[in-house]
């Protein structure tokens, strides 16, 4: 039967109904198959925490300090979900935020693919859409006790041309408190970045472009902050800082009064741009960017505050990750190595994933590669430090490795243990940039990985990942 004769026959009313029914059936089957395939993508051990999420860029989901809860922004709500007992809860609604708008029925077609919105609304329509996004959720974090989440709601006062940040605390019990109304011209502070709630919840320390700013939550006003840097203790209520003008390394009490001075330990023209403090409050690592641009090398040091012992440190890229592991003065360094190129900036020559028991210890290499920057035939396979997550004990790591066959460009998430064993996260390559899904962190004391795809937030036990089937042979020299 030719097409023509088929459609002539279809003019028959009965046949028409049948065709319609058949079409509906096909669509339903397709949707079902699609959904079923999507569900099949997850490992059998995966536990779906929220089956209907709508994420958009920052802030990323954050795991609570006890590893049992996750907080995230979805469909314009600040949500939380218990990992053992996954019943997602919407704590705070944020109207006029981006995902709140995207969750409206009129944008349903663009939910999974924002490009559709562009196609449908056009340039002017998109400008209108962007204008209607008047609230942005920033700086989502858990309180240290894990009983509440803190976040900022940024908006813009067009009349005064000022950024306004309302800092809110939403407890798991459902109580919402406004902690601060911060208005600032943005000279020193930026309200979207890192902010740290003090343990006693009396202050918020905003990271700044030049200096931090202490915001007194009792008076809802800024407080003179004569420090170039402030880092909270992860175990106490003290702060480590570098005092303004004197450049002395100091420890303050909970109300920012200096209780101990360690002197100006920094070489001329260097101070702490990044200041790390070990959980036992004994060791300090500081970093200072040397050059002008973000890719410049850094100088710094490791200091034992008890003995005064110091070791200098250097690195090729300021973006290098340095972390104390919580085992005394042990720390890790993860990042690229480079050398000055013929043009501006550095060209990559290697990658290191190392542990050091102290500032002067020899490195324990977990991943180490060196390559000739001019040799384009070498496969540069090493973890992308922009998307790397650590278990709380720093014994497990999840990161993206470049997709083996590109295009499409992207990263495949892998799990690695401290010994350097590597496993690919189970699931088929979905062709998206992050595959098989995007990881957002570890939970449950490193026993689970929290990840999401376009619709679902879920947890995967790392035991399900560490199987022979997922094991990957590493391409670097250690293997």
């Amino acid at each position: 039967m030719t097409n023509r004769s088929f459609w002539r026959c279809a003019q028959n009313r009965k046949l028409k109904k049948m065709c319609l029914a058949l079409s509906m059936l096909v669509i339903t089957v397709c949707l079902f198959v699609s959904f079923a395939r999507s569900a099949d993508d997850l490992p059998a051990e995966a536990k779906v925490l929220d089956p209907d999420i709508l994420f958009y860029s920052d802030p990323n989901p954050i795991v609570a300090p006890d590893g049992k809860w996750i907080a995230y922004i979805s469909k314009g709500f600040v949500c939380v979900c218990n990992i053992d007992d996954p019943h997602p809860r919407q704590l705070v609604e944020v109207p006029h935020s981006r995902t709140h708008l995207l969750a409206q029925p009129e944008y349903a077609d663009a939910r999974d693919d924002p490009r559709i919105l562009w196609q449908r609304l056009g340039r002017e329509g998109m400008e209108q859409f962007e204008k209607s996004v008047t609230q942005t959720i920033v700086g989502l974090q858990w309180t240290r006790e894990g009983d509440a989440v803190v976040f900022g709601l940024n908006s813009f006062d067009a009349e005064k041309k000022e950024l306004i940040c309302e800092v809110k605390l939403a407890s798991l019990k459902g109580k919402i408190t406004t902690l601060a109304h911060i208005r600032d011209g943005g000279v020193y502070t930026h309200l979207g970045g890192m902010s740290m709630l003090s343990r006693d919840r009396k202050f918020i320390v905003l990271s700044g472009y030049v200096r931090p700013l202490i915001w007194d939550l009792t008076t809802d006003k800024p407080r003179a902050t004569p420090f170039m840097n402030l880092t909270p203790s992860t175990t106490g209520d003290r702060w480590l800082g570098v005092e303004k003008d004197t450049r002395q390394l100091v420890v303050t009490d909970a109300s920012f009064q200096i209780i101990k001075r360690f002197g100006n330990l920094f070489p001329p023209r260097r101070t702490a741009q990044e200041l790390l403090w070990s959980p036992d409050e004994r060791y300090v690592i500081w970093k200072y960017q040397v050059g002008f641009d973000y890719y410049s090398n850094w100088e710094g040091g490791w200091i034992d505050l008890q003995t005064g012992e110091q070791e200098s440190m250097t690195g090729s890229y300021m973006a290098e990750i340095v972390r104390f592991t919580g085992r005394g003065g042990e720390f890790m360094r993860i990042g690229g190595e480079g050398k000055q190129g013929q043009m501006q900036g550095l060209v990559g020559t290697g990658f290191q994933f190392q542990f050091f028991t102290s500032g002067n210890a020899k490195p324990e290499d977990v991943w180490s590669v060196h390559f000739d920057p001019n040799d384009r035939t070498i496969k540069r396979e090493y973890p992308d430090i922009r998307f790397i997550y650590f278990s709380s004990d720093y014994k497990s790591f999840v990161f993206g490795l470049p997709r083996p066959n590109q295009p499409p460009a992207g990263e495949i998430f892998h799990l690695m243990d401290r010994a350097g064993h590597l496993w690919k996260l189970p699931g088929k390559d979905n062709g998206e940039y992050f595959s098989p899904y995007e990881v957002v962190g570890f939970a449950d004391n490193g026993k689970s990985i929290i990840a999401h795809d376009i619709r679902r937030l879920f947890a995967i036990p790392i035991s399900a990942v560490m199987s022979d089937a997922n094991a990957v042979k590493r391409s670097d020299k250690l293997e």
Binding site: D184, G185, I214, K221, A224, P226, K244, D245, T246, R269
Partner: protein, 454 residues
């Protein structure tokens, strides 16, 4: 009455004789016959002691002092290795200490090369006791071009010179440059004052954490008026740099402010300058620090305020708004006005506006001359465009009611008959300079001569 006329007559006779002999203005006393000077705009090149009887000045590679009633000058301190010493070299005699002329003579490159390691005298001021002057030897070209060194020096009247402290500022330090500084009477601290202040512990020779964005020392005590960092609140700071009072005044975050404080510490003027480029305007207020009462004020960069008595009334010395392509030094129009206490409107004492169409020769005046005020702000010395319309300015004495007494004119000079630097000696005299000499002039003599000419 007769006594007054008699005195005037004596001064006129005496000054007339002097004028014939030395060609100085009437009533003038020569203080230094070989005065090489280059000045910054709106800043006198001399420091007047608190009793107004002595001046200190930089000349021919040294700091000198002299009594304003004459009697010769004496050297307080040699300025070895300074630009001032370099400019005073005999080979640059024709330049008479003026940097731009030496630059012209040597060429920019060789001049910079010759002076790269030389320091410059900055912030010369008398101690409140009047027993010594303090000054900074500022060197902005240490190991590399971004580092700076400030040697804070003290030269006593008896000729002893010693360094109080040496302050090094490095790349990235804020403040990098000590633009103005205050030496405490007890020598314990040096405070870099004004915007981005820095307290320097002299004994420890290191900075003290300075939680202020602005610090202004009192002229009568060791207290400071300040703006606290981050809170941007106006505060009163004691001699130990602790905040002892907070005022109901906060400022915009751009940190483009300044403060003026009355000598009795009761009133302050707070100004916030515009952040727009090419916009010299400011907006601010006068605040009674006791009652908190404020009066809004606005103006342009270059406005000066001088508090009068204890009422909060203030003399304002300013210039009219600068139009496009005009010089911003006041030559296009300046005024002296009184801002009364309370909210009564500002009242002009005297004002001039440059005629719209004038000869280009006006621009040959390198900078509009300084307007000086007596310490009680009852009398002013102000250069006004010549009545004849000829290019240049003639100094006048002007009193609070607007009455004026012109100085004797010399049409060959663009600023005649001299440049006035300050009122001294309980406002009885003026210190002034011409291109070669430093001298003092009796105010009464100028008035008398003007009356005579009338």
């Amino acid at each position: 009455m007769h006594r007054r006329y008699f005195l005037t007559l004596v001064i006129l006779v005496w000054s007339g004789a002097f004028l014939r002999a030395t060609d100085l203005p009437p009533g003038a006393t020569l203080l230094d016959g070989e005065y090489f000077c280059w000045e910054k705009w709106q800043e006198p090149s001399i420091a007047v002691s608190h009793d107004g009887k002595t001046i200190a000045y930089v000349n021919k590679g040294a700091i000198w002092q002299c009594q304003v009633d004459g009697g010769g000058s004496s050297k307080l301190a040699e300025l070895k290795g300074t630009i001032d010493e370099f400019l005073a070299k005999t080979e640059f005699g024709d330049a008479r200490g003026q940097e731009w002329k030496v630059r012209k003579q040597l060429g920019n490159g060789p001049f910079n090369q010759s002076t790269v390691d030389m320091s410059k005298v900055d912030g010369m001021q008398w101690r409140r006791s009047g027993k010594a002057v303090v000054y900074a030897l500022a060197d902005h070209a240490q190991s590399d071009i971004h580092a700076a060194r400030y040697q804070i020096m003290e030269a006593s009247r008896t000729g002893e010179v010693h360094a109080i402290v040496t302050i090094d500022r490095d790349v990235g330090d804020e403040p990098h440059a000590l633009t103005a500084f205050h030496v405490r009477a007890d020598n314990k601290y040096i405070v870099s004052t004004g915007p981005r202040p820095l307290i320097w512990d002299v004994e420890a020779n290191e900075p003290v954490a300075t939680p202020y964005d602005y610090l202004l020392p009192s002229v009568t005590s060791d207290r400071y008026l300040g703006i606290e960092i981050d809170t941007r609140q106006l505060v009163l700071v004691d001699e130990g740099f602790k905040i002892i009072k907070r005022y109901n005044a906060t400022f915009e975050p751009q940190r483009n402010w300044d403060l003026i404080w009355s000598p009795d510490e009761r009133f302050a003027i707070c100004r916030t300058y515009s952040n727009q480029s090419l916009d010299d305007s400011w907006a601010g207020f006068r605040i009674d620090l006791e009652t908190g009462a404020k009066r809004a004020l606005e103006g342009y960069k270059g406005d000066r305020f001088l508090f009068v008595g204890h009422s909060g009334a203030v003399i304002r010395i300013g210039m009219r708004k600068i139009e496009q392509l005009e010089y911003g030094d006041g030559r296009n129009g300046s005024y002296i006005a009184l801002v009364p206490e309370g909210n009564d409107p500002q009242r002009d004492i005297f004002r001039f506006d440059k005629p719209r169409k004038v000869s280009d020769d006006w621009n040959a005046v390198m900078t509009y001359p300084l307007i000086c005020a007596s310490s009680d702000c009852k009398l002013f010395a102000m250069a006004l465009p010549r009545d004849s319309g000829k290019p240049g300015y003639l100094y006048h004495l002007i009193d609070r009611s607007g009455s004026k007494w012109p100085f004797p004119d010399d049409p060959s000079l663009l600023v005649a008959p001299c440049r006035v630097l300050a009122f001294v000696d309980e406002d009885q005299k003026l210190v002034a300079r011409d291109d070669t000499r430093l001298f003092s002039i009796h105010v009464a003599a100028i008035k008398a001569a003007a009356e005579e000419r009338k």
